[in-house]
């Protein structure tokens, strides 16, 4: 990252946008690092959580929107639970993910692909059809054999069904998606 100019307006807007979207205030963060220390995912992040907060404070939209961290956060709530400044950090990570998505940005495709597969199934059947998700994910992600090793086990135990269960109100659920898409468009 090159030298940054904190006076450039676009950068300042970013923070207020996060504040507006999340209802949380990142300026309260004094960089103690508790979030990073407790986060089970730090080792997988490109930017540790406290740095994400710092990047927001510094208005570094690009860096944040392009970060893998916001996609690898599992909302386990450890950061939120322990933040001494009472910031709902996990919710900010959620918000950043949604913002990135609206900017058509996603640094960890597979995760998004999985979420899409999940939501597609939900949209189609009203409930989750695990087999369907897995197959769809494998096709779209290109990891055709992801979890293939589990196949025999799962099948032997009859843990997973081959037929989706459709609910009666599934078009009602589909409507939620439809209205939502219109709203966000």
């Amino acid at each position: 990252m090159g030298a940054i100019n904190p006076t450039v307006d676009r950068e300042r807007d970013f923070m207020s946008e996060v504040v507006k979207e999340s209802g949380e205030n990142p300026i309260l963060c004094y960089q103690c690092g508790n979030c990073t220390a407790g986060c089970p995912y730090t080792e997988f992040f490109d930017h540790p959580v406290h740095r994400i907060m710092r990047l927001i404070q510094a208005g570094q939209r690009e860096a944040v929107m392009a970060s893998k961290a916001i996609w690898l956060c599992a909302s386990c709530e450890t950061c939120t639970t322990r933040c001494p400044c009472e910031i709902d950090v996990a919710h900010i990570m959620d918000t950043l993910r949604a913002m990135a998505l609206r900017e058509k940005k996603c640094a960890v495709r597979d995760v998004l692909t999985f979420y899409d597969a999940f939501l597609a199934s939900l949209k189609k059947h009203g409930r989750i059809f695990e087999m369907g998700i897995l197959m769809r994910y494998n096709l779209l992600s290109g990891h055709v054999f992801a979890d293939a090793d589990l196949g025999p086990k799962v099948l032997a135990k009859g843990l997973i069904s081959f037929l989706p269960r459709n609910i009666r109100g599934r078009d009602e659920v589909a409507r939620i998606f439809k209205k939502f898409d219109e709203k966000r468009r």
Partner: protein
Amino acid sequence: MRVGVFICHCGNNIAGTIDVARVAEETRKLPGVVYATNYMYTCSEPGQAEIKQTIAREGLNRVVVAACSPRMHEVTFRRTVEKAGLNRYLFEMANIREHVSWIGEDREANTQKAIEAVRMAVAKAIRNRPLVSSSFAVNKKVLVIGAGVAGMQAALDCAEGGLETIVVEKSPSVGGMMARLDKTFPTIDCSICILGPKMVDLVQHERIRLHAYAEVEDVKGYVGNYQVKIRKKTTYVDWTKCTGCGVCMEKCPGKNAYDHFNCGVSPTRAINIPFPQAIPKKARIDPQFCRQFTKGKCGVCAKVCPTKAINYEMEDEIVSEDVGAIVVATGYGLLDLERLPEYGAGRYPDVITGIQYERLLNASGPTAGHIVRPSDGTEPKTLVFVSCAGSRDKSIGVPYCSNFCCMYIAKQAILTKDHLPDSQSYVFYMDIRAPGKGYDEFTRRAQEEYGARYIRGRVSRIYPKGKKMVVKGADTLLGTQVEIEADLVVLATAATAAPGASMLAEKLHISYDTNGFYVESHPKLRPVETNTAGVYLAGAAQGPKDIPASVSQGSAAAAKVLSLLSRDALESDPAIAHVNAAACVGCLKCLKTCPFQAIKEEDLRGKKVAAVIETVCAGCGVCTSTCPCGAIQLEHFTDNQILAEVNALCRM
């Protein structure tokens, strides 16, 4: 009526956002005002001279200064006008700085606000009467509450200054927190070695009387004349007979009493002398653990005591002391580990507090100065120190910095290396706060000479794994997590207000802040005074402080007491209630409401009327707003004066 008004620029503090010239100009139009001017620094020497000259030149009989808060300079200007021969109560002040120029950005609005503030002050001044204070005798004794290092310093200085000094200490021995410490930063000199002599001086001084294991029960009276009730808690040992030989302690079968002095590092006996250098060196029974009290039979100590000092029937005793001034030096408390669940909430024996570690380091401590793990008594190799364990943590209601932890952690890391040369210490910190003389150098030595590894980041979690404690922290400078498998973890738990601090404050009518620490009269200029005349603060009771700062405050408080009690008589504040006997209908509602019992019933030619006991009246004015017929009026805040202010603001 000849009112003179002086509007202060206070450099730019006021003139920056208020058009002072216009305020003066508007003020000149007010009835009764014969002179109004604006001045750069009214409180300055020439500024005050200007006031005096103007009083003479213009023949002023009322003076108004529009400047900072009266809490800041009212006293100053009252003296000024008095020097010019004007009664000090003919002076009024308008606060156009704290309440106007500093809180509003709109110059126009501020100016208008200032004009009205002045108009209000003038309206009041016009109705002010000259008041003369009567003088009353002072009791040249002082009470010091708390015998930690701050309290002891205050007591010794007062006694040296010739005052009868009474010291009340709630624990069985004097010495406070400092007596528990091993060494002190940044000099590494032995804490008890420098404190011990003071403790001895304290009990041996002919002008100091000590009530140990006692607490203040009740406080009545006013500056110069306080009546204090002190509860001497029962020890079940007659201290007039006890020689502190310690036989009872050896023989006592109650072996699992909580050791308050050693902060629970190890148990003590049900009858015990808190520590070898304890003063007074007397035994005390802890009935919570004594078999005589829990089981109803034992009596071993009574049998073995060579002076027959044991008395299981002993009860609390209330003693009264009359004093002229009070120094509050009740120190601080420490955050309960239960407030830190992510650090184990006290469930893990090898996660201890800084003060407990001091006891482990201390040669006269339970381990004779050997650093060992409470769990299995083995020597730790890897130690982790966690600063800000609860400090600077809004989420548990401790938003402030505890002041001395950074320094004592550095000290403990250094001492650890001395005790265990092949040990390795790690220190998790957020910021190293070492502003004192030689302090920063000290924290550098801990790292450069003693090899303590400092890691910039907070610890999120501490949990056991096998025999080790895993400390899960972060290195924010590297942007990584840090996991250390430690043998012993020391938490620098937050310094809190002393237990019971608020209750004492209420007895003394002094205020405490949102964190429970006592509030000084002015953060810069009156650091050891309270808003209650004759009550002073010293040490960590006012906020977390290290030893040098506490000692300085102890001496400072003593100096204040000495100057107060150097006078044989004090001037009473004449702004007290007065009864207009003619108007009084004798309903005596005032007598019932007065918080100070300062009103008595009197007989005026067969007519029952209320009368004010001048020395007792504190001038709150509750009676005035209670009186149905306006017969009792608080001088300087009479109904007419306040209503005049209301009118000046509303009638436009």
